[in-house]
């Protein structure tokens, strides 16, 4: 089988998975697509030297993670706004967010990075622990632990937000001293 044929097969098989991983790491679909292009270019360049010491999927995901993390570091250095803020704003779906979901997005943005990544990827990968573990390069048990901690923290953050809303004064202006 020729090198071109092998590469074409890899693109067909992995482009969507690599893109989902990039979405979970970069939180911006346009940046994730750009990163996916760069990842496959790197794969193309390095494929002749791939010796099969690890599974090809592990190798591809390692290139993808490293590329996205480098891009994130560069973006963080270039921007003045924090990454959490950017993640919370650009997270997940490209549809305009319904008002009720803004609380959820904000809460996800407040999660520690590794928990947020595991959580987002779990839903992007159609609830597959195995895919998340492969993409993040972590054991399945660790992924499950991160996921459970993320959900517990998320539930607590949402409960806290709801409580704040319930106890907030209905007419804040009435509290002002005249």
């Amino acid at each position: 089988m020729s090198g071109n044929h092998t590469f074409e097969r890899l693109v067909d098989e992995y482009r969507d998975r690599v893109f989902r991983l990039a979405c979970s790491l970069l939180s911006d679909p346009a940046a994730a697509e750009d990163a996916t292009q760069e990842i496959f270019l790197k794969i193309w360049r390095a494929l002749p030297d791939f010796r099969g010491d690890s599974a090809i999927s592990t190798w591809i995901y390692a290139i993808a993670r490293n590329t996205c993390l480098t891009r994130r570091r560069t973006a963080v250095n270039e921007r003045t706004c924090s990454l959490d803020e950017a993640n919370a704003a650009a997270f997940a779906s490209t549809d305009p967010p319904p008002a009720v979901e803004s609380d959820l997005r904000a809460a996800i943005g407040r999660l520690p990075d590794k928990y947020r990544r595991a959580l987002v990827l779990f839903y992007l990968e159609d609830r597959s622990y195995q895919q998340v573990a492969l993409a993040m390069g972590l054991p399945m048990g660790t992924v499950k632990t991160f996921l459970h901690r993320a959900k517990k923290e998320l539930a607590a953050l949402l409960a806290e937000t709801n409580l704040r809303k319930e106890t907030a004064p209905v007419w804040p202006a009435l509290n002002l001293k005249i």
Binding site: V11, L41, D95, L104, H148, A155, L158
Partner: protein, 140 residues
């Protein structure tokens, strides 16, 4: 809040990862525990909201075509990527072996200057060829 010892089991149950025995245990517990029942309902709702929020956007339809175009613009990979490294290694080994041999022969050598010059030049030429190939093909 749910009973702490049942929290992980409730999450497993929501994710479809609980074993039949654990599921039966949880079901019998939640029948009697209102707090766990409420937390399970909360987690199920959260699960649905997350699944809805985390819908993956699709890649652009022209993704593969753009990738092919970028690859076509890449410089061609050299055919023998390992040759320059191999030549450099042979050259280095040749220089080292010559030096070693001559050191051994030094006390009773007759024309060791000529022999050294010839062998070392050959080894150096091989090494330089490797280096030139590496530069020409942009191999690091």
């Amino acid at each position: 809040m749910a009973c702490p010892e049942f929290e992980d089991l409730i999450l497993d149950y929501c994710e479809g990862a609980a074993s039949p025995a654990d599921s039966a245990l949880l079901e019998s517990h939640i029948a009697a525990c209102a707090a766990c029942r409420a937390w399970l309902a909360e987690q199920r709702e959260l699960d649905l909201r997350l699944a809805k929020s985390c819908a993956a956007p699709a890649l652009s339809p022209d993704f593969t075509a753009r990738l092919r175009a970028r690859i076509a613009a890449e410089p061609r990979a050299p055919r023998f990527r390992r040759l320059p490294g191999a030549l450099e290694a042979i050259g280095c080994l040749g220089i080292a072996a010559t030096a070693g041999y001559l050191l051994q022969q030094l006390p009773h050598a007759t024309d060791w200057v000529g022999l050294f010059t010839l062998t070392a030049s050959a080894a150096f030429a091989i090494w330089e060829t490797g280096k030139a190939l590496r530069t020409a093909h942009g191999i690091k």
